[in-house]
Symmetry: C2
Subunit: 243 residues, 2 copies
């Protein structure tokens, strides 16, 4: 089995070990076999662009390994992160269904594997297997929920510190496993986004993110060592969040 980019490439969907835990891929065997036929697997380094906002839709991507950020950009070059896609998600659905340009630029945040399926193949695939339609509906539902969450976050939070606290707490829902030498109520998380990207996520400027994080650190709420952040005072962070 091929190895590259420091992860194992999944060439055969029917034998994928993660399948059951994934939003899209947990399909009946027949459908999986068909998927196997129409997919084209690619491997991308960090920072690769799967598609560009404004391009005509060519097809959809199933993200097998790695995470990717979906961003949209204004005419002046200011950009905002719509969401971070996790392994198992299908990307590009809205473009394909509305036959309109891709809504977002998709950029890998880590070395990633993705399966591409062309528009026509995918439409037939969906017609032939009703389960696929359900999965698609679930993915679209997930997209909507993320988008609504984002709208709430940007539109209803009154201050930037609040938004950032909210974001950190959301990340804390998937903490790193507890290690030795950590106090009981501390939570460690892995943050691979730059401050610039965090700024784009909450719709603010890079400098403000820097200031807010400094502030959290000075208050003893947060410790940041490279990509490992430790939440020292979860309660205080939660007090910032009103929504």
């Amino acid at each position: 089995m091929a190895m590259s980019y420091n992860f194992r490439i999944i060439e055969d969907c029917t034998k994928c070990a993660f399948r059951e835990h994934r939003l899209f891929c947990n399909l009946p065997n027949k459908a999986l076999g068909r998927l196997q036929d129409i997919k084209a697997t690619s491997v991308y380094p960090k920072g690769a662009l799967l598609c560009l906002e404004g391009q005509a839709p060519r097809g959809i991507f199933v993200l097998c390994t790695g995470r990717a950020k979906l961003t949209t950009t204004s005419a002046e070059g200011k950009s905002i992160i719509l969401r971070i896609a996790e392994p198992g998600e299908v990307l590009g659905l809205t473009a394909v269904f509305s036959n309109a340009p891709y809504e977002a630029t998709i950029e890998t945040l880590e070395p990633s594997q993705a399966n591409f399926i062309s528009m026509t193949d995918f439409v037939h695939f969906m017609k032939d297997y009703p389960d696929v339609g359900m999965k698609v509906a679930q993915q679209l539902t997930h997209n909507c929920r993320c988008a609504y969450g984002e709208i709430r976050s940007i539109g209803l939070s009154n201050s930037v510190p609040e938004k950032i606290a909210k974001l950190v707490l959301k990340w804390a829902e998937q903490p790193l496993p507890a290690s030795t030498g950590r106090k009981p109520n501390e939570v460690a998380i892995r943050v691979t986004l730059t401050q610039e990207e965090i700024a784009q996520f909450v719709g603010t400027s890079r400098e403000t993110v820097s200031r807010v994080l400094s502030d959290f650190r000075k208050k003893g709420w947060l410790r940041m060592k490279g990509v490992i952040w430790t939440i020292l005072d979860k309660d205080s962070l939660e007090d910032m969040v009103t929504t």
Copy 2:
């Protein structure tokens, strides 16, 4: 045929005159027949609440007549409009599919008719008729696109005047029919939202909306007479918008 609320109630989906122009209802006859069996038609006055944010999902609504606004509210009572739903849309899909509380409060903006379908009936309906799945995917796609547009509007526009100009121009895409006594390049639109609601739409305060509209009027770009607004200088409004 029953009359009420100043519009004609559509009791039989199979005979609905608007069906073909609607996002959801244009289904094969068999599916329509089934829809006819499982739907429960209700008529609502202006300002009625179809469902409340946070409620457990009971089912979906097909909006037959009238428009409705979907809002989400923060703990402090600040609320934001996610979108305005048009006749023919299905509402409540995300809640039903994720079996999670309704994401938004749905309030009619006009006297409206809506068909309610319970969660279990709808799931069966979808399983039995693949066309329904496609319609659902299209509706969800539409929701996503609206949400992304909203994120762009709130997150990427730099100033409130720009957002309001953008909104007015969006409305201008569905202008009122030209009437006598209007100059050739003028566009008339019907605006039934209050300034408060416009504020919720663009994520700002009511006072700011008032000031911005006053400003547009003073500059001779816009005339407002009750619910009828006339765009006098579309070019200038477009110059405000950069995205």
